[in-house]
């Protein structure tokens, strides 16, 4: 599932996303460069991801279902095709690489635990979540 989000769309939402994430993470906007990994780089935890999604929903007036990133990455693969015993299958890993195209290839491990997917998330990941949610909202209207 290659993404067709272009960099202009990402940069258009980036300032507000960074401001929102800075509030959630208790860091400065300057620390939130697009490619910073949120867990390794800024000590983000799972509750922070919930908080970020929650705040982005309010800031952009969009709806982002919990687990949306993994669900979208899985696309039309069945759960069994995507993961097995908590690890991504080869097909699942490829889908994830395609979906999180902003993440450098060397950060994807093989084998990779599903629970470790959030380790890949960057600021740009959430910019793209917002772009997708705004598109979905526009279509729904």
């Amino acid at each position: 599932m290659p993404t067709d989000i272009n960099q202009d769309e990402v940069l258009a939402v980036y300032p507000k996303v960074a401001e929102t994430m800075a509030d959630a993470l208790g860091c400065t906007v300057e620390q939130l460069v697009l490619d910073v990994p949120l867990i390794e780089g800024l000590d983000a935890e799972s509750i922070d991801f919930l908080d970020i999604i929650f705040r982005l929903e309010r800031a952009f007036k969009i709806k982002i279902p919990r687990g949306k990133i993994v669900e979208d990455a899985r696309g039309d693969l069945s759960e069994a095709e995507f993961e097995h015993k908590g690890y991504l299958t080869d097909a699942g890993l490829q889908r994830l690489r395609d979906y999180l195209s902003e993440v450098p290839a060397n950060r994807f491990q093989s084998p990779m635990k599903v629970a470790d997917i959030p380790r890949l998330f960057t600021v740009e990941t959430f910019c793209r979540v917002v772009v997708r949610a705004r598109r979905a909202s526009a279509v729904a209207q």
């Binding site: 959630a24 509750i47 908080d51 929650f54 919990r66």
Partner: protein, 272 residues
């Protein structure tokens, strides 16, 4: 200590529209010295939790995690009857999103907006059958009022002061307390609302320095609980002045354990 007594703040659920809204009541025992804002927030949260647990067929229960905005409008004096309401604003099978309020008579004492709690396996915290039975009691005749016997305020030892700017203190969570039997029987957790009460007490000390007089909490925003606090845990709690204007001050409050952030929030205090 009896389950559903030591730290339970809903006496009866008077209305329930599954997945949408819930109403309830709690009689604040007259013998208590006071009933803190944290306990009012706990009552609202517990009412929302009952609705969420019923919706989840008592297989999951929510735990406190995020609260975007808590407005403290008035006080719940001992002896009063708290009318409680919560609207379930959304969420999914893994989270509950709600807002709620408490009032005494016609007067609102608290409003909570955009609160979110992860739904975790009930089995880890409590006996699902016992929780379901108590829910049925609350939906019928209600539980016996006056069960809550109060909570001892934990001691806060201030060890660092920067006048008007910053305070740091040690908060020793008790090894044992009656409320741990209720919160929760299978996994004792220090209630986030008691932690918030302790943090606002510290914030009030700092606010008093800034405002040159007594201060009371007016609003708490951006509450985030990062991990459970367990019996016997020693926390460092802190309050920092963020900004102040005539008659009010905004403070950041934190709780850390071994250098790791446990809870954060912003508190607005006003001269009282």
């Amino acid at each position: 200590m009896e389950h559903f007594a030591a730290f339970s703040f809903v006496d009866r659920i008077t209305e329930l529209t599954p997945g949408t809204s819930v109403r309830g009541v709690f009689a604040v025992p007259a013998a208590l010295p006071d009933f803190s804002a944290g306990l009012v927030a706990e009552a609202i949260g517990q009412l929302a939790a009952w609705a969420a647990m019923a919706q989840a067929e008592f297989r999951k229960r929510p735990v406190a995690a995020l609260a975007a905005d808590i407005r403290i409008i008035g006080e719940a004096a001992p002896g009063c009857r708290l009318d409680l309401g919560a609207e379930i604003d959304g969420g999914d099978r893994d989270t509950v999103l709600y807002g709620g309020w408490a009032q005494v008579g016609d007067a609102r004492v608290m409003e909570m907006r955009q609160c979110l709690g992860p739904m975790l396996p009930m089995d880890d915290f409590d006996d699902p059958a016992a929780v379901r039975r108590h829910f049925e009691t609350l939906r019928a005749a209600g539980a016996r009022p006056g069960r809550f016997g109060g909570v001892a305020e934990p001691e806060i030892d201030i060890f660092e002061r920067s006048a008007g700017q910053r305070l740091r203190a040690t908060l020793r969570v008790p090894e044992s307390a009656p409320f741990f039997a209720d919160h929760f029987p299978r996994r004792p957790v220090y209630p986030a609302t008691l932690l918030l009460d302790a943090e606002t007490r510290l914030a009030a000390v700092l606010a008093q320095q800034v405002l040159h007089g007594p201060a009371k909490v007016h609003r708490v925003t951006g509450v985030k609980l990062r991990s459970f606090v367990v019996p016997g845990q020693v926390l460092e709690i802190g309050a920092d002045t963020l900004s102040h204007a005539s008659g009010s001050v905004r403070l950041g409050v934190t709780a850390t354990a071994e250098g790791k952030r446990v809870a954060t929030a912003r508190v607005e205090m006003v001269a009282s």
